[in-house]
Symmetry: C2
Subunit: 207 residues, 2 copies
């Protein structure tokens, strides 16, 4: 995705090709949110007026840069994991042994396919957490971008939840399903945090 | 933006350069949403099982393609409008006449700068409307992507509202402010629609 033009990536997303799809879109939303956090930090660091917030901004900048790289990688991982599921469904099912092997392969691939949006949810929640941490000390000229970052990461999180759930639905092992659901639930509270950040920024803007 | 690589666009977004910023991020979120609507339509059209929904899908595909192009254009328009505001603030203010001319130029530029996120809000609301229209007839294999499209467009709408409000805050003419607020309010109800689409898709997925 990194080396593709924006136009051609959007064209691929819009096409009937199996990937990129909603998983890559979620990763992009998370990457956009992380990039905006970086921008706000970059426009706050070095300004005397915000000197006391510089340690927080420097830490947030380092985290946001890492999260953006992870998000971009997740778009690629999503395509690979999706391909593994598709390949598993194509396995022969002529004998009982083949059927069993195919079912095992599908179930294993589904775990991999659920893992990518699970990690996307974690990245999105981390971006929202960063937005909350930099909100008070951010350069006021780019305060609105903190909210835009939170809104974009929130879309990534909403999408990731749906993308995990799609895979949960096809999984046969209830213990595995429950474990993934527990993992997912660790990140979903960030949706409320994102909404609170957007509301708080709007309040300051409209004051 | 179209001819830039995704990596370099994200790098620019993360940098301390004045543009791209939150306006371009909102436009990208809207474009991602529109592209996913196109994908769902492309994967539904031509499938006998969904034949009765084909007219809706064809219409939605045409609209989504147009909305994606508009969204991409808005990212460029945002940079231009932002530049106009920055330029206006740089005008000389040594005499009273210069001060008055500078104030007029700033106010005119702010109207232009508010117009871009206003149009982004309209595009985002239209993408959400399309998601609602294709939800029931969409290929079930990509039903989740309808929700991801709505979530991404909703982020664009949230961001656009904030970006309009930032400009409203600097505007001096109350009549102009009220008129823009009325325009903006026409689109904001789509936030609720987007949330309802995400909830409805999740309900079908988890049923």
């Amino acid at each position: 995705m990194l080396d593709q033009t924006v136009g051609s990536w959007l064209e691929d997303l819009a096409s009937d090709a199996p990937a990129p799809g909603g998983g890559a879109a979620a990763a992009m939303n998370a990457a956009v949110g992380a990039a905006l956090i970086s921008m706000v930090c970059n426009l706050t660091i070095g300004k005397p007026r915000y000197a006391e917030h510089e340690p927080v901004m420097r830490e947030a900048l380092a985290s946001a840069t890492e999260l953006r790289a992870t998000a971009v990688q997740l778009a690629a991982d999503d395509a690979a994991a999706f391909g593994a599921v598709t390949d598993a469904y194509k396995l022969p099912k002529d004998s009982d042994a083949q059927k069993a092997a195919r079912t095992d392969a599908i179930q294993a691939a589904l775990v991999g396919a659920a893992d990518v949006p699970l990690r996307t949810a974690a990245v999105a929640a981390s971006v929202i957490d960063l937005a909350g941490r930099i909100m008070d000390g951010a350069n006021v000229n780019v305060l609105s971008d903190v909210a835009v970052a939170a809104a974009s990461a929130r879309a990534a999180l909403d999408a990731a939840v749906i993308n995990v759930e799609i895979n949960l639905g096809a999984m046969k092992d209830p213990a595995r399903r429950d474990a993934l659901r527990v993992e997912l639930d660790k990140h979903t509270a960030a949706v409320t945090t994102a909404a609170a950040i957007v509301a708080a920024v709007r309040e300051r803007i409209n004051a």
